[in-house]
Symmetry: C2
Subunit: 344 residues, 2 copies
Amino acid sequence: MPLKDIMERQNKVLEIIISSYVGTALPVGSRSVSKVIGFSSATIRNIMSDLEEQGYITHPHTSAGRIPTDKGYRCYVGSLMRLKNIKTEEARRIDEEYRLKRKNIEDIIKKTTEILAGITHQTGIVLFPKFKRSVFKRINLVSIGRKKVLVVLVASTGIVRHFIIDTKDDLDREVEAITNLLNSEYYGLTIDGIKGKLLRRLKEERDSSRSLIEEASDIIDSMLQLFQEDELYLGGTSCLLSQPEFESANSVKSMLRIFEDKSALSRLMEEDLEKEGITVYIGKENKNKDMQNCSIVTSSYRFKDEFIGRLGIIGPTRMEYSHLIPAVNYISEIVTRTLNEFME
Amino acid sequence: MPLKDIMERQNKVLEIIISSYVGTALPVGSRSVSKVIGFSSATIRNIMSDLEEQGYITHPHTSAGRIPTDKGYRCYVGSLMRLKNIKTEEARRIDEEYRLKRKNIEDIIKKTTEILAGITHQTGIVLFPKFKRSVFKRINLVSIGRKKVLVVLVASTGIVRHFIIDTKDDLDREVEAITNLLNSEYYGLTIDGIKGKLLRRLKEERDSSRSLIEEASDIIDSMLQLFQEDELYLGGTSCLLSQPEFESANSVKSMLRIFEDKSALSRLMEEDLEKEGITVYIGKENKNKDMQNCSIVTSSYRFKDEFIGRLGIIGPTRMEYSHLIPAVNYISEIVTRTLNEFME
DNA sequence: CTTAGCACTCTAGGGCTAAGAGTGCTAAAA
DNA sequence: TTTTAGCACTCTTAGCCCTAGAGTGCTAAG
């Protein structure tokens, strides 16, 4: 038999093993594969033996069937798998959710985690839009007490951030002037742009209207601090736990550690922010130890052709990639559309 | 022996059982109690038998020591327990955390969940200050596009909420007028007050400056919606899980369900909002099934003598009440002070 | 009322066994 | 040369029995 056919048969067997294991979480024996593919169980055993040698599948123990390795899943996701179209029923449900008017971006993002979880039955993850990356649209200072000013920032993406600062002097009268100054000076710049421009200004105008500039400088400092923060939202953390891989308390705990210390997840998503399309990390491909039994499927969403955030799911490596990858993709497109529509 | 002494000895034994069990999570045998109290193990067994009959302790099985029942803990918390003073080291740590300048209330509240968890080694819970209950201080409308207005609300407590509304007309010019109108009309009222006043206004001025009033009405509607939401923050969800009661995956899952569906917890805390001092719910005293292996210790925090929110901890019924109750109390006092100072 | 003594109960853990699932190898069949 | 049938082998799982140990409850004596 020519080499091509051997490969093809191996692939077919691997595919059968994976799709069976993904559904049942039970090791797959040669007999059950033989029923699907037509060859005898002995032949299948030979093929399986080859697949195991090449590292695509393993044994939990001698007398058990085979289960896919991370490498097996990777091969499946990379070439074997046929992506399924998202079900019209699901698409309808998603569309419906986003058709409802939302009152701010936080609202949209939080809802998105729930939708991700609801559709995929995994835990939904959304990295909040990066304020840092979006351009500055509007600042408003509101005096709310003696020497207390509320600063409200609006980015072009519609993200709003606010913080309260204590000013050196009572600024009640000057609030409007500073607001106007900041707005006209910095409109349309990114945060980095604002910072640069501010520093130049400070050098040029050492003497004139000093206190105003100083106050503005304080405000920008607070802003910069505020934007360092990553915000990561999770949804459907408990629906995951009905999966058999979380029968042991230990695996549940490592999952919880992931959920609680969000920094690892958020770093991971941030690194891939600029990546077009879907990214999949399978098991050991994750650097974080707690995540090495998990797969993570993510995709970035955009605002006016700029990637501003990323969303996806995390679950056991045994997940229905062929179905979930299109789902994540679809949701990221809808989020993109919704955010763009939200700001017209 | 007079009745009083019998009672006293029973109490003493119950206290020993509880404080031992709280520390080790191991059933307490008669011999170990006898070592502490001086009587022989046989005597202790008699006393234990009485305590069991009265429902304060049980057996996991015949040949095991005793463990406290919910009723036992209740009795301990209600009368037996001697509250310990908070350790100066802990108090110092807490004070330090709150001395750092925070940039907004969300920040303070989130930090508080972490501090609660860090000090008590349970999961920290904070019910966000009720916007509904605080009086209106400042509203700001910011035009951020054609027919899009950002509404920023500031309550006297310093809580800030924002939402974006679509207006019927392009309001760019009128934004300031509406802002001023709303500010002067409604300053110092609660939400309910604003609603009432608005409705009266609408009736009186059927003809004059109609569109203005209509716009204002829209805004208030969105506001009212926004304040229905409860916000509950949790911290230290995974530190709990090192406790032996969470060895079984099932118990972990029911805990996760509590964490994920926050509405039950938040309802519970809201109900007790007006209660002075510490509230403790032990095991079956909780109506929610998932919580029946847990105890919840909470206390309200205030703004200017008004209860505005509530904070506390949730953990296994086996917790060090004598130590944790003062800790929760202390933190609620510090949060009260911090919030009041934050707005002077 | 307290205590010593003793029989009794129950759990946890180890060792053993049998059933079942699935493999790997070999030799025969296609 | 590839496929298949057959069979011995391995390993897990569940159940069973047993023992050691912890702790009780009861009784009778102090």
